[in-house]
Amino acid sequence: SSYYTPVMPSSLCKSRRLYISFSDVGWENWIIAPQGYMANYCLGECPFPLTTELNSTNHAILQTMVHSLDPEGTPQPCCVPVRLSPISVLFYDNHDNVVLRHYEDMVVDECGC
């Protein structure tokens, strides 16, 4: 039989902010700019029923249903990035050249199930 346990909102799947300063990781002498990086990550539950805020796929909706019927055998859907943005980094490379490089899909803006 299926069961329903209410989940606290803060534990729902969402983006968690994490800022990493390059000087904290000892990269400040070769990275010219920016000073740091938003290394946000996704964390939280995707409980049944999935609400619209959780940006879920149809598959995830079905999976929560199956999970509620068979919690031991079928896991909850995963909480993953669904919208990312790029960053540009200005740095010195291994030959002292100045490089401006553009990296796609680096900052997690939004998560979903």
Partner: protein, 233 residues
């Protein structure tokens, strides 16, 4: 931590953690492009455009500025109209296999702060040659004409001269073909030069001796990183 760090650096396209020995000043054009991309704006080009360098109107997601590693060649001597002769060399081996070179621009910078009034008939001539093998430099001075890449004459010496060397840069991706360039700036052997002969080169080369440095700005596109990502919901 060092293993993880090296894996992360590798994913960022770096073979090892850089430790700049003589970091060059950051070219203002790179600062401008970087700061413009930092400003979040609803008008931000769509992700596909993010692999387009608007400032140069070429595709690309990596812009590098290479410092010149060449050296001055003898100047003056039998060819008295010669003001400057320099070997220019840019090591493009850092470009990865998956990168397409989409633009290469040579910049020559001079340090003078004012425009000198040219002497009557004083015209400078700048020549760029593909450099011959080092063992032949002395023999081949000036390099043979078939190695001439471009000639440009000018009266007023600007602070910065720019040359499009995209095709040359693509040739240099084959390391064995990258022997660099020979830069020559001399008095044009035209109408007014005879009046100048007999005067010491330092005299009519004024301005050219304020040569500061040469650098090569290269834009490249790493198709792997510019492919459309997973479909978003």
């Amino acid at each position: 931590l060092s293993t993880r760090e090296s894996l992360l650096l590798k994913s960022l396209g770096l073979s090892a953690k850089p430790s700049p020995r003589s970091p060059a000043p950051v070219p203002s054009v790179l600062w401008r492009i970087f700061q413009k991309r930092e400003i979040p704006s609803p008008l931000r080009p769509s992700r596909e455009d993010a692999c387009w360098v608007e400032e140069f109107s070429v595709p690309g997601n990596i812009i590098r500025v290479f410092s010149d590693q060449g050296h001055f060649l003898h100047s003056g001597g039998p060819r008295t109209l010669l003001c400057l002769e320099k070997h220019l060399f840019f090591n493009l081996s850092v470009l990865e296999d998956g990168e397409q070179l989409t633009m290469a621009q040579l910049q020559l910078q001079f340090g003078h702060n004012s425009y000198r009034a040219p002497s009557p008939g004083q015209v400078f001539e700048l020549r760029l040659y593909r450099a011959p093998p080092p063992s032949l430099w002395e023999l081949l001075s000036p390099p043979p004409s078939h190695r001439l890449l471009l000639v440009q004459s000018f009266v007023q010496l600007h602070k910065s001269l720019l040359f499009n060397l995209t095709q040359v840069g693509r040739d240099w991706r084959t390391q064995s073909r990258n022997l660099g360039l020979v830069l020559e700036i001399s008095m044009s052997s035209g109408a007014g030069s005879s009046a100048l002969l007999g005067r010491p080169p330092g005299n009519f080369c004024a301005g050219i001796d304020s040569f500061l440095d040469a650098s090569l700005l290269v834009v490249s596109l790493q198709l792997e990183q510019c492919k459309a990502a997973r479909k978003k919901r």
